[in-house]
């Protein structure tokens, strides 16, 4: 395997894309904890504090392989991000939703949510979920 040339952030090969995670969480210290652990696993993380900044990151060219989305956000909610056009523009990456409130499974299905983690959940479960979704993305892309 010869090393691929370094690509600018907006122009990644499909094999690279799945390893980038967009982390949407308004609680700064929780976001820091999550980002640090995920970076420790080798993921590239972009952090967004709201649905609006997440949409801006995508508009600026960030192409995540997965979005980790807290539903209860200030301003627009996670549902607004799921409803809007930003995720389509990003190539509809799988979305993992976290929430302190129970969410009706039908609603999750309606929005095509790939994973749902009701709080409280172990960090290990989150990492395993991301790992599973990204490797299945990989398989689909290589198929």
């Amino acid at each position: 395997m010869s090393p691929a040339p370094t690509s600018p952030s907006s122009d990644l090969s499909p094999a690279e894309m799945p390893q980038r995670v967009l982390l949407v969480e308004d609680d700064e210290s929780l976001r820091t904890v999550l980002a640090r652990h995920l970076r420790g696993q080798g993921y590239e993380i972009a952090e967004a504090t709201s649905a609006e900044t997440a949409a801006t990151a995508i508009a600026d060219g960030f192409r995540p392989g997965l979005v980790l989305l807290d539903i209860n956000l200030p301003g627009q909610t996670g549902w607004d991000l799921l409803r809007g056009a930003a995720l389509d523009a990003a190539g509809s990456p799988p979305v993992v939703v976290t929430s302190a409130l129970t969410i009706d499974p039908r609603r999750l299905a309606e929005f095509g949510v790939a994973g749902y983690l009701p709080k409280p959940f172990p960090l290990e479960t989150l990492i395993a979920t991301i790992e599973r979704l990204l490797s299945s993305e990989e398989e689909t892309e290589n198929a």
Partner: protein, 388 residues
Amino acid sequence: MTDPDPDAFDVRPTADEMLARIREEQPTGRGRLRVYLGMAPGVGKTYRMLEEGHRRRDRGTDLVIGFVETYGRPHTAALIDGLEIVPRRHIEYRGVIVEEMDLDAVLARRPTVALIDELAHTNVPGSPHPKRWQDVESIREAGIHVVSTMNVQHLESVADAVATITGAPVNERLPDEVLATADEIELVDMSPHALRQRMRHGNVYPPERAQIALDRFFTEANLTALRELSLRMVARRVEGQLDESAAGAQGSLVTERVLVLVDGSPASARAVRRAADLAGAIHAALIAVVVETPESERRPFDQTRDLQETLDDAVDLGADIIRVEAPDEVGGIEQVARNRRATHVVLPFRPTSGLQRLTTRALGDQLLARLPALEIHTVGPSGHGAGS
């Protein structure tokens, strides 16, 4: 440095090793700290630490794993077998349950030796201490010996340089003082080529993620620079130990003194790090000076807080702190520079407007006019300068 077969030591220890072992196994006093230092993730620090754990346990030492992170690396995970593990503590933080070392459980278990990975780790809020090295301090206070690991990039004094080299911010930092209290530092060395090879084979991260890491962070050039930093770190420490024994407790070999001005500006935070690098390189003492002038009393809150943080940094880097009251800044620095016979002065750069430049002389110029033998260094606020 050649590394003889470590197991040979276990069979026939020399007198020095026996003495060291007696000291090591004694139940009273402060626990010793041994650190496996690496240039990057994946060089095999945790593996080496666990190997040491097995060797010690085989000799009959009461040893536990306080916390080990295997990152799913199979060879490393296999080495955990046969070692006692203190169960991790589960801390719920804003709905996420994070596993951390259970400090109280390790203290209650009271082993002779505890293996604790990742000395620079930041604990989740709600833990007894914000940083793992503080947990390690408590454990050593209790007389338990600790074996730990860390990567060179997390060391406070080199973190900025590493961020400049690799273009990636270093979020977890360990005060140099902490590493300086280690009784032994062992460098886990590997050639950049060999490490890249390991990564390509998926021994560090899963293969798909490894490729990004290889292209971005773990380039041959970055790794070469990081390796040099680690080697220099360990070499400097050995030199330091030689100097100590030559000079006795007096430290009479110190002939140079680096003085750094701390004023709460971003440039002064960097100036402190650069001054510490310089002091280390020329074996100089480090003095951080705060000059209180009538003007500085009007310092805004933000700047006062930043000043305190920079001073904390300076203490961590081994500086003496001197606060001096003077009618003006130049006078204050001059006074300390004369009293402490400073040979170098590191100043934070201050941008001046065109008009100011016509009416006032730069701090460094004024200082040189009064003390011409000084060497003055000016440091800017950002580490990402042209070609630096």
